[in-house]
């Protein structure tokens, strides 16, 4: 059909087109964020504050000083690490909404290991705690997929319900069997120094968990795009019938993607307990497991995109309190912006549909 030079040109053209498609995809995430910030600005204006002042305070609070950067990254850690886990599950079309519960249980079992062996060398104790957290998170998530495979029970509903079981169970534990002796609070005794994650930036709270998060993002990217396991997750998520007919063990794909997802949530729990709280407390997570779903989607289920989205959300949350004290805009305005991002991002397909319809109507009218 074509001679070689033609073919080459067509292939180049195709690559250009693909790059444009990737950019459009990234653009839809960025567009949602910008649009949400604009709507947020209008709301801030209605509150009687100059939105530029408010946003300046927000950015300043999130990235203005060494400490604020550290806090932003610190907040991004649980969001990113849970988010890449959710990414793997979502890619396999397993809707893990249970990261919050997996995180709670993972944190608890990591702390229990830390409290049990307070004198072990950190180089042994910390990995042990991490593994305990990951295994617990993985098992808790795995139950939901086993129920799906065995009884065709919807994993989305089950993981949501299992969140409540996990969170209330942990609440009972820290008020009962593992409560700090003599304390009225829902918390365990403090971890020994050996069980606490080392700080990587002096005079801040930024711990080694951030480096591990970066490594896990790289690892997950490699797993999803370069390995047989990741390939099978991707194709099964797109078409489980064809994958099954082609001999892929789709049940294992479902289960293993969830095990990975739960393990990442458990690891995030370990980071929160051993890196920030230095013990297990009743409210160890302020909904990281849920926010991570949004982070994963906004990151387009790409581990590197997820990292960026996590840093964005971390910055928004950290900057919010500065904005509140500096210009008097309530921090809940940022929560509002976060959810606007969600709505606008999820609704991006509706926008393009509306635009298509408008074009069509114009054609008909013409």
């Amino acid at each position: 059909m074509f001679n070689k030079a033609d073919n080459h040109n067509i292939e180049l053209e195709f690559k250009k087109q693909r790059r444009a498609e990737t950019l459009t995809a990234a653009g839809s995430s960025i567009g949602a964020v910008i649009l949400a910030l604009i709507i947020g600005a209008v709301i801030i204006r209605l509150l009687g504050v100059n939105p530029f002042d408010a946003y300046r305070a927000l950015i300043d609070g999130a990235f203005g000083t060494k400490n604020s950067i550290a806090e932003t990254l610190l907040r991004a850690v649980p969001l990113a690490i849970t988010g890449i886990g959710i990414t793997a599950a979502f890619r396999a079309s397993i809707f893990n909404v249970g990261a919050e519960g997996q995180l709670y249980l993972g944190a608890t079992s990591a702390v229990c290991v830390g409290l049990a062996f307070p004198t072990l060398h950190p180089a042994i104790l910390l990995p042990l705690m991490a593994i305990a957290g990951m295994i617990t998170g993985a098992l808790w998530g795995g139950i939901a997929v086993l129920l799906k495979l065995k009884f065709n029970a919807n994993e989305m509903i089950n993981t949501i319900m299992m969140n409540y079981i996990a969170i209330y169970f942990v609440s009972w534990l820290v008020h009962g069997p593992i409560q700090q002796p003599g304390s009225p609070l829902g918390q365990t005794a403090g971890l020994s120094d050996n069980a606490i994650l080392p700080i990587i930036l002096k005079q801040t709270r930024l711990h080694i968990g951030f480096i591990i998060t970066l490594l896990m993002v790289l690892l997950t990217g490699f797993l999803i795009y370069r390995t047989v396991w990741g390939y099978q997750i991707r194709v099964t998520g797109k078409n489980m019938f064809a994958s099954q007919a082609a001999g892929i063990k789709v049940k294992w794909v479902f289960l293993s993607s969830m095990l990975f997802s739960g393990a990442m949530a458990g690891l995030a729990g370990f980071f929160e307990a051993a890196g920030i709280q230095h013990r297990m407390i009743e409210n160890i997570s302020s909904g990281y497991g849920y926010t991570a779903i949004v982070v994963a989607l906004l990151g387009q289920l790409n581990p590197f995109g997820v990292l960026l989205a996590a840093i964005l959300f971390g910055g928004l949350q950290i900057g919010a309190s500065t904005m509140e004290t500096a210009v008097g805009v309530p921090a809940s305005a940022v929560t509002l912006i976060q959810y606007l991002i969600v709505i606008l991002f999820i609704g991006r397909k509706a926008f393009s549909l509306i635009i298509q319809q408008m074009k069509k109507n114009r054609k008909v009218a013409a």
Partner: protein, 511 residues
């Protein structure tokens, strides 16, 4: 009661209806006519143009030319809603009901006359009871649809059409999902409806049912009317010939399979029950020899899909055994069967054969991703995947721009080539080819057939399941006819002819 309608005899007339899809003529000057109180059967194979013709009536597609008259008045059917207003009611093969709602609520959907925006359910229920009693449909309008049997759900569809004022009822292959008892019940209702002055158009390819229920029969073949006759003037044998045609099909000159060729695949008394616990395959026996194409002819819906899936390991048979090369593979997973030399060209290639949203390269490795040289230690070898993919694209002449484009961007023919390339590059021994040329143009069909014959030449066994008799006759060494989940007869290439196969396809063994 309605006033007597016999004064105006002809209810519906379609003349010279022509519908084209691109260069393909789906309806070529088709005429049909139904009188009041009459049942017209529309008979024809898959793809003969029955559904297209009915879509014209339902206002879903507009014909290129032709005239439609209802009650002697010429009409243009502009939309599905307009079609309803003209008194045409369609009962689709797959029901258009919402299972979690009651019958009455289902009837109200999209009907402003039932009350808008809040339909008066009580009023509708009372009206439905009246209609149900009048036509002996025996439906409780309060019942939730999901609790009703399939036969009753079909009656709900009929009730829905009647409530909307249908005087001409189209039933699209209504018996394909019914048990014999339910079919009997449906026929009772059809007779009752026509007794009340309604007209019924009954679409089917089951000859015995057509002979039982219809007053007149219109036979379609390849978009044209081949006969328009009254039931009393014909019989099942004549009808089968009218349906499948006489014409000579080219037989390729191929070396016959030596009689001593050894048996490659043996299917021993396979039985399979579907979700409704109805038998779809009934103690089915079959063999495929090395270097043989064994064609399975049959009217769609007689167990072909399930047979292919059971052989591929996607469905588990309830009893019976499958042997490949003497090894019992009945309990093996699809993956292990693929390793044992099985290749599957599924009928629904977009759903079962390809992952539409990933690249061509990633589609090529769907079955081999875990094996060397595609991957090593669980890590994909992209160099190998790219090079192999490019070679396959060249060998199978897949028209594309890049191995990175998604399968969804290919044309139907090229998608099928992609499946063939993947399956045949694994050097399989036994190939299940289900409707391998469905939806393909002449060139792509020819290509698929040549590749299948090439595999035959290599000594591989092929089970060709197709509803296209031309394809079966052109390629097969032996031809079996599947009917209601059983093989009715197996004929050799030499003795098989269209009349005999056509009759067998309708369940008639006494020839």
């Amino acid at each position: 009661m309605h006033p007597p309608l016999s004064s105006q005899k002809v209810n519906l007339q379609m003349q010279g209806i022509t519908v084209r899809y691109g260069s393909f003529i789906a309806n070529d000057g088709v005429n049909i006519s139904v009188d009041h109180g009459q049942t017209l059967a529309l008979l024809g194979e898959n793809g003969a143009g029955k559904t297209t013709l009915m879509k014209v009536l339902a206002g879903i597609i507009k014909p290129e030319s032709g005239r439609i008259q209802i009650n002697g008045k010429e009409v243009q059917i502009l939309s599905p809603i307009h079609s309803q207003q003209l008194g045409i009611g369609m009962v689709h093969q797959h029901f258009m009901l919402i299972p979690t709602l009651s019958v009455a609520k289902n009837v109200c959907i999209g009907l402003k006359s039932a009350g808008y925006p809040f339909p008066n359910i009580l009023k509708v229920e009372n009206e439905l009871i009246k209609i149900s009693e009048k036509y002996n449909l025996q439906i409780d309008p309060k019942a939730i649809v999901s609790t009703l049997s399939v036969g009753t759900q079909q009656r709900v569809e009929i009730l829905k059409a009647l409530y909307r004022g249908a005087k001409i009822l189209i039933l699209d292959e209504p018996t394909s999902i019914l048990t014999p008892q339910e079919t009997h019940g449906l026929f009772g209702i059809i007779k009752f409806l026509t007794g009340q002055g309604c007209s019924v158009i009954f679409i089917s390819h089951k000859l015995n049912e057509v002979m039982e229920i219809s007053d007149r029969i219109t036979v379609l073949r390849q978009g044209k009317v081949t006969a328009e006759i009254s039931k009393d003037e014909t019989n099942e044998k004549d009808l089968s010939i009218l349906m499948v045609g006489h014409e000579f099909t080219k037989k390729r000159t191929i070396k016959p399979v030596p009689p001593e060729a050894s048996e490659l695949v043996k299917i021993d008394r396979i039985t399979y029950f579907d979700e409704r616990k109805l038998p779809v395959l009934r103690e089915l026996d079959l063999t495929v020899k090395k270097g043989e194409i064994h064609g399975i002819a049959g009217v769609d819906g007689n167990g072909q899909v399930e047979l292919a899936k059971v052989l591929a390991g996607i469905l588990r048979p309830d009893s019976g055994r499958i042997f490949i090369n003497g090894n019992d593979v009945t309990k093996l997973s699809p993956g292990k069967r693929i390793t044992a030399g099985l290749a599957h060209i599924p009928g629904d290639r977009q759903r079962l054969g390809l992952v539409m949203d990933v690249s061509l390269g990633e589609n090529f490795i769907l079955e081999t991703s875990g094996k060397e040289p595609v991957s090593k230690h669980g890590i994909l070898n992209f160099n190998n995947i790219r090079n192999t993919s490019k070679q396959l694209i060249k060998d199978y002449d897949i028209r594309c721009i890049s191995v990175d484009q998604t399968a969804a961007t290919l044309s139907g023919g090229n998608q099928q080539k992609l499946v063939l390339a993947r399956e045949f590059s694994r050097m399989p021994k036994f190939i299940i080819a289900m409707q391998p040329s469905r939806g393909l143009d002449v060139g792509a069909t020819e290509f698929v057939h040549e590749k299948l014959l090439e595999q035959r030449e290599n000594g591989n066994g092929i089970l060709l399941i197709s509803t296209e008799l031309d394809e079966i006759f052109e390629l097969s060494d032996r031809i079996s006819v599947i009917y209601e989940g059983k093989i009715l007869a197996t004929l050799s290439r030499e003795v098989a002819n269209r009349e005999r196969i056509g009759l067998l396809m309708t369940g008639k063994t006494d020839v």
